[in-house]
Symmetry: C2
Subunit: 166 residues, 2 copies
């Protein structure tokens, strides 16, 4: 699975939309993630509307690339589905990581923008999309075709000193 090794945080994109079949594939990948007791406590918002992407970019100082991104996927916790609410962040992280990797597979580039557990960012998104209390914004993924020098490529992060063997 080369995608694991060449994935980078891609923040600059071509002015080209992401095809509907690729968007569906990203969402299908997300929903294949493991979760505690298979609770699948997630839902998703896709945003391609330029005006909404512009407003979403104000969620934090690290989200400005959304102004020019063709696509954002907002990953949400659906707390009504939780058997083990304490595990919701882990479940949604696995779903988010699947989207990032599937993006590489589809020749897209993506970056994970952290939202939860920071309440200011969560509230910003809840207000923008008028979400019910049971829907908790977890992360935003900014996605598009990589532009400039932002391509996916291997950079070695292996640190053997971080491993102990028994």
């Amino acid at each position: 699975m080369n995608s694991i090794f060449i994935r980078r945080s891609v923040r600059a994109y071509e002015a080209k939309p992401v095809e509907p079949d690729k968007i569906e594939k990203l969402l299908r990948a997300a929903m294949q993630a493991p979760s505690a007791a298979n609770q699948q406590p997630w839902s998703f918002i896709t945003v391609q509307d330029r005006e909404l992407l512009g407003r979403l970019s104000d969620v934090s100082e690290y989200s400005k690339m959304l102004h020019k991104a063709p696509l954002a996927i907002i990953v949400l916790g659906d707390m009504t589905k939780c058997i083990y609410p304490i595990m919701w962040e882990q479940d949604l992280s696995a779903a988010t990581q699947n989207i990032l990797l599937e993006a590489v597979e589809l020749e897209l580039g993506a970056v994970w923008l952290g939202v939860a557990p920071l309440h200011d960012r969560m509230d910003f998104i809840s207000n923008l999309f008028e979400l019910p209390d049971t829907s908790k914004p977890f992360a935003i993924i900014s996605i598009g075709y990589p532009a400039g020098n932002q391509e996916n490529k291997f950079i070695d992060r292996y640190k053997p000193e971080r491993v102990k063997n028994y």
Copy 2:
């Protein structure tokens, strides 16, 4: 990336060790994960020692397969590396998901056994391996060659009603 789609939670294994080059590949995959501000707040313990695997299996009622598993990887938070400690669970989840997917790629099977934020499980592991306070047990991954009917295979989890588009 077929691995995302065929990954299953595999809990029964052949009585066959996991090769050292595959163990290294799993750890390399883990360390390629994204993390908040690229903090990489992780370390890993590999366990192949049968007696230790037996003791580790008592961490919870859901970990009994470790008695017969050839390999466990314990994913730990290294809090000395954290710039954003509040994001440690998300970072370690991405690393854990990479290990699960790379296992599929290597024709292995694996299952994510949740540890944090459950203090009884975290303390159990800290005591067993005499970990310093800065090292926080996050998850155990049980790994081996799939046995019985436990192979990786596609089961569709896509739920289009979980998606809203703007």
